[in-house]
């Protein structure tokens, strides 16, 4: 998240603190999320890539194809669609396109979900409904006000265990859902390398408690917070990544639109994110939050079962800022 420029992550601080000879004073604690491992292993994680050239095509059919390919059963479930809405700039592509959300609503209702809601808690804008208006959500999603929950102002419940914080409060709409569909925009990120289905969960952290921006997540450390939120929510998650038009360069706000023409789906968020990275020309083994989340899913190509398109068939390298040139997949 761009506002991390105003603070420092634990890792950044340790770098500076170490150079000042005060690393011990900084009091680094052993992470609670477990040791770094490569992958969970076991059965391969299915990930579906489907082509979608534009937002005006038959998106519902494409999403249905991917959902079925991943063997997802939503019958009788309370489903929450969690798009990525941050800021709005008509000159670029920051937010999950509303057409993808609209199509997903149609698909999950058709597949027999008991309830399908849309929920988001923007990290920068207090004015969620104003942002939803600008981003076209209010005009394009019928009955938006009835379907939508502002996660920044939802009632909350306490969840034990979040990094060194000991606890985190999360929105009841999220905690009570049977299935959360993380629907990020496929973007590069100038602090995390890439922002995909796992990072998208920053939006569930309520601003009413933690503010705008959700600075606590930066203080904990962006990669670590990504892992912790995914640890809490990942088991009841599904991902639909809007990679029809993504963002490259100085994402997630100030980058450039990048036509990639795909939707990427799967139940294992780590596998989905690793696949997106490969598609974007990013080496997932070099992305810190994927390194740290080995106990949450599979990222190795050999442990991901591709359904639909192959990565090689849709790979389109996203431009990387200088700080992340080392992430380029050879």
């Amino acid at each position: 998240m761009e506002v991390a420029a105003a603070i420092m992550t634990r890792r950044e601080w340790l770098t500076i603190a170490g150079s000042a000879g005060v690393a011990g004073w900084a009091g680094f604690k052993v992470p609670v999320e477990g040791p770094e491992v490569d992958d969970v292993g076991g059965a391969k994680s299915p990930v579906a890539i489907v082509k979608a050239a534009s937002y005006s095509g038959e998106l519902a059919a494409r999403i249905l194809e991917g959902v079925k390919a991943c063997g997802l059963d939503v019958r009788g479930k309370r489903v929450v669609l969690k798009p990525n809405m941050v800021e709005f700039d008509k000159a670029t592509a920051i937010n999950t396109d509303v057409a993808v959300v609209s199509a997903a609503l149609e698909v999950f209702a058709k597949l027999g979900a008991a309830d399908v809601r849309v929920a988001e808690g923007p990290g920068h804008r207090r004015d969620t409904y104003g942002l939803a208006e600008e981003a076209g959500y209010r005009s394009m999603l019928s009955k938006f006000d009835r379907l939508f929950t502002d996660l920044n102002r939802d009632d909350v419940s306490r969840v034990e265990g979040f990094a060194d914080e000991g606890e985190i409060y999360l929105p009841n709409t999220i905690l009570q859902a049977d299935l959360i569909v993380s629907m990020p925009k496929m973007k590069t990120h100038h602090w995390a390398g890439a922002t995909l289905s796992m990072k998208n969960y920053f939006g569930v952290v309520p601003g009413s408690i933690y503010g705008w921006p959700k600075n606590m997540l930066h203080i904990v450390g962006i990669p670590r917070s990504i892992v912790e939120l995914s640890r809490i929510l990942g088991k009841k998650s599904f991902a639909i990544v809007d990679g029809i038009v993504g963002m490259e360069g100085n994402g997630p706000i100030q980058g450039t639109p990048k036509q990639a023409g795909v939707l990427v789906m799967g139940r294992d968020l780590r596998a989905v994110d690793a696949t997106c990275c490969r598609m974007m020309g990013i080496d997932p083994s070099q992305v810190e939050y994927l390194q740290r989340s080995g106990n949450l899913g599979n990222a190795s190509a050999g442990l991901i079962e591709m359904r639909g398109e192959s990565v090689a068939g849709v790979r389109t390298d996203f431009q990387l800022i200088d700080q992340f040139k080392g992430l380029r997949l050879i």
Partner: protein, 285 residues
């Protein structure tokens, strides 16, 4: 129906049994919508019930629960001090003031100052300016700083603290320092990786609320007036009206129908909807 009457009736009929308001009707009471609704209804018995609830959430150290279910001290303590000051509750105000004066952004801590010295370009923050964080242990940002400035100003009228003046000046310096190149404010970051960030209307208004009483921000007030003259969301308009009135500008009165069951929005619209509204309670003098 008269737009103000619609907000008034909405707030009167959506108050929870505990005296508070949820962000939306039927939801649990939260300090933030409760405080703004209480300000908008100041003088009404409903506002007194709201203050009683908020006071019960204040802890011995002056911090507050943001709602009954959440035990995390955060930025809403400032709203409690503002409300306590209007109710002239000296004990609650002193306690809250102590908490606010002991709280500052993490960027002002010793380690961060050293870090700034070692790597001055790492952040556009000026660690000598003391703003307020959303949550203790994190950095300071525009909105919690603006609310805390308002709280300190009103609290000083009740308990008269010498230390308040210095802290107010420092906090306002922080707000001025974080102004974006486009003339407004966002949440509180001017640049990211050397690229200028844009401002937002609602945070521009909040920054100006924190700068109320200053005579050297006329250009920022003009900028905010310009924002209100073009299409904005109801929430942005509501914040902008309050901010402009606090700076003696005279925006048009609220003439919109209630856009939805949003307690915070209705309270802000009622508070700053007209020239003779309760926004005057927030005036620095």
């Amino acid at each position: 129906m008269d737009p103000l009457r619609a907000r008034h009736d909405f707030l009167r009929t959506t108050q929870n049994a505990d005296g508070g308001w949820g962000y939306f009707p039927g939801k649990q009471s939260w300090l933030e919508p409760t405080a703004w609704a209480a300000l908008a209804l100041h003088g009404d018995p409903a506002a007194l019930r709201a203050w009683t609830l908020i006071k019960s959430w204040q802890k011995a150290d002056g911090s507050c629960r943001p709602c009954a279910a959440v035990d995390v001290p955060n930025w809403t303590a400032a709203l409690a001090v503002t409300l306590g000051s209007l109710h002239r509750d000296e004990v609650a105000v002193r306690r809250g003031l102590d908490y606010l004066l002991s709280t500052k952004g993490a960027e002002s801590g010793t380690l961060k100052r050293i870090a700034k010295f070692i790597a001055p370009d790492h952040t556009d923050r000026e660690p000598s300016f003391l703003g307020w964080p959303w949550k203790p242990g994190t950095s300071s940002w525009i909105e919690p700083t603006a609310h805390s400035v308002t709280a300190l100003r009103l609290a000083s009228k009740v308990v008269g603290r010498q230390a308040v003046g210095e802290r107010l000046a420092s906090a306002q310096s922080m707000i001025l320092h974080m102004r974006c190149a486009d003339g407004g404010w966002n949440y509180g970051a001017r640049i990211a990786l050397s690229h200028p960030l844009v401002s937002f209307p609602e945070t521009t208004a909040l920054a100006l609320i924190g700068l109320a009483g200053r005579s050297d921000v006329a250009d920022a007030v003009r900028h905010a007036s310009g924002l209100l003259s073009v299409k904005q969301s109801p929430l942005s308009r509501a914040w902008l009206r309050i901010a402009l009135r606090l700076h003696s500008a005279k925006p048009a009165a609220l003439d919109e129908t209630l856009s939805g069951p949003d307690t915070l929005l209705a309270a802000l619209e009622l508070l700053g909807g007209t020239e003779d509204g309760k926004w005057r309670l927030l005036l620095p003098s």
